[in-house]
Amino acid sequence: MNSHPAARFDDKPGREVELDVATQDCMIHMGPQHPATHGVMRVLLKADGEILAGAQTHLGYLHRCAEKIGESVDWLQYLPYTDRYDYLAAMNNNLGYSLAVESLLGVEVPERAQYLRVIVAELNRIASHLFAVGTYGLDLGAFTPLFTALRDREEVLELFEKICGARLTYSYVRPGGVMNDAPEGWLASVAAFLDGFEKTWHEYWTLIAENKIFIERTANIGVLSAEQALAWGCSGPMLRGSGIDWDLRRDQPYLIYDRLEFDVIQGVGYRGQVGDCFDRTFVRMFEMVESVRILRQCLEQIPDGEVLHEEVGAVIRPAPGESYVAIENPRGELGHYCVSDGTKIAVRVRVRSPSFCNMSVAEHLMPGAMLGDAAAIIGSVDIVVGETDR
């Protein structure tokens, strides 16, 4: 009998066991209920000690047949389902779907509604980026930035509660305009929020971007080159973080974005290389500042008038045809492809979700990184699993 202790770990008993220790990579399942996966997602990591040799992302834990539902409920009934895919930026989802339906209908939305849509979309962008930056701190082990971010996000949610009654799934932006006009004094409270937020923004900047440990953990980690970002169809802060100057709000303007003045933030390698985890956070941080600029212009320019097109009623029957409209969601390009056969139910509603494309490149950033970087890389992609799986 082989009495060497190593024999106990031998899967083929009786075989001659060499005294040399055989090594093999350790396969670890990160998720589906791992705290750093931002929802129910599974990453299969291949690790050589603390160093990652590879990674594979497994999706589908939050699949809720959103697109299939689009083929069985009528055009307007589908609107609440759009809230649910990127639940941190539901206003933008409503907007993307509404624009696609309006493109089928061929209606021009009243001007006041267009401004209100931009205001809620940009407020939602601030809230979403705050959450992204805050939870990124959590991924790196700092708890406090999240709570500081939630404090301001709370103010945005209160504004949304006042305008549409909901805090997370709004269904406020609808085909033909918006659900209702802003209540009295709402625009003034948006302005008040912006004044306060400009001050607290600097707090986040010092808490996060000036923090030595934060820089050490994110600079030069998970570097996504510009070519890679384009090849994988990345969009949003992920693409701009890699130094590509592309923003649908400016390059394919929808609503009234062409009347507004704002800069497109790109990664510049502020603390490390262009396209590293720090740059993606950098883009998100400064996009909030740009959103504040956009909001201030909107508050100045917003006209009076109707907020819902009178021809768009409860039942929508677009003429047969198809449309694709893409908008700049906080996480990137959110596209809706809608096909109508003239009935009140869509033939096809296809969603091009930014998190899905952004996440697919993440596993290629991991080889060579440390185990602790896996959380940093996944966090910097800022996925919402509801959107990748739909």
């Binding site: 670890i28 750093a36 701190g137 082990g141 406090t144 050490e216 440390m370 602790g372 896996a374």
Partner: protein
């Protein structure tokens, strides 16, 4: 013989009660401090006033929870690990000088004993990680082993300056030496303050790493390793790891307080009659408050900074803290020699 056993048993019971109560208080304090730092309230319901009973309620909940052991786990290691961890934390309290005459065992090599026993905790953690039948736990255990092995050296060396200054390894003797003229002869304010301040900072950083406190909480990094070595633990066994963390925090803070911050000494201690009850109460309060203050700083750090990566932790330990603490020990020895020569001349 019988009397000795009885007195030992009483002393140990008192220490055990103190650890349990102190750890429960620290858990509550940690949550309050975290809430305060994060614009929250923290626990505020249980027990009425400011949620004071939250920790008690949590302890009862933990006691009542199912003690789960995975089928593939190494049962013996798994069951033994919390006991090893808890026993080592428990033993550390024995040499702490809480007040004049209030010390369980005045060991001549007190500081040495603390360093030696604190390392035993690591063995418990490795046992827990290995026995858990979970890869994340093994990672936690390996990180703990690497981290403690590299931070033992700066921790031990950073304790050398006060030891050289007082010429003793005994915490009680070191505390007594810091009474000075009116209770302020603390090492931090002594003629060697320029050695005391940097060595205290070194000690504090190394103690954070030794106790697995943020930013060095790699063995239980929740966003990377779920909960590290105690992922698979539940109920009372889990609470042992919890208790150990806070007990060890208190012990290292107490060592810092005893060697640098004057131990039980406070301004005006010379006015009180030696051996009086008032002196004993005030001195103990002074010692415990100083230790609490250092524990509070540890909590403050935890809720402020992100976590380092394992290679950065190792770099900090080997490339910066070890040489620095070695230099501090040499400088302290040189200073004592200079003083010795001056005294002879």
């Amino acid at each position: 013989m019988y009397e000795l056993l009885l007195s030992t048993a009483i002393a140990l019971a008192v220490v055990l009660a103190f650890i349990t109560v102190a750890a429960m208080f620290f858990v509550y304090a940690e949550r309050k401090v975290a809430g305060w730092i994060q614009h929250r309230v923290g626990p505020n319901r249980t027990g009425g006033f400011a949620g004071w009973a939250q920790s008690i309620a949590d302890s009862i909940k933990l006691l009542l929870k199912e003690d789960l052991i995975l089928r593939g786990a190494d049962r013996r290691l798994f069951q033994l690990a919390p006991a090893v961890v808890m026993a080592s934390a428990f033993a550390l309290f024995v040499v702490l000088p809480f007040g004049p005459g209030l010390i369980v065992a005045d060991v001549d090599l007190g500081v040495f004993l603390i360093l030696a026993i604190a390392s035993v905790t690591t063995i418990g953690v490795i046992m827990a990680g290995w026995g858990s039948y979970n890869k994340w736990s093994v990672y936690g255990a390996m990180r703990e082993a690497a981290q403690v092995a590299s931070y033992e050296i700066p921790l031990g060396l950073s304790l050398m300056p006060p030891i050289l200054y007082f010429g003793t390894f005994s915490l009680k003797a070191a505390t007594e030496a810091q009474t000075g003229s009116f209770g302020m002869g603390w090492y931090l304010f002594s003629d060697a303050f320029w050695i005391a301040i940097p060595s205290f900072l070194l000690f504090f950083v190394a103690a954070l790493a030794e106790n697995k406190r943020a930013p060095f909480d790699l063995p239980e990094a929740e966003s990377e390793l779920v909960a590290g070595f105690h992922t698979e633990y539940s109920g009372i066994r889990f609470s042992f790891f919890f208790l150990e963390e806070y007990a060890a925090m208190f012990v290292f803070s107490a060592v810092g307080a005893a060697l640098w911050l004057g131990g039980w000494n406070f301004p005006g201690i010379h006015l009180l009659e030696p051996g009086s009850t008032l002196l004993l109460v005030l001195a103990t309060a002074s010692f415990v408050l100083k230790a609490f203050f250092l524990v509070f700083i540890m909590m403050w750090v935890r809720w402020t900074v992100p976590r380092l990566r394992i290679d950065q932790v190792m770099t900090l330990g080997y490339k910066y803290l070890t040489p620095l603490s070695m230099a501090m020990a040499l400088i302290a020895a040189g200073w004592e020699y200079v003083k010795h020569l001056g005294a002879q001349a």
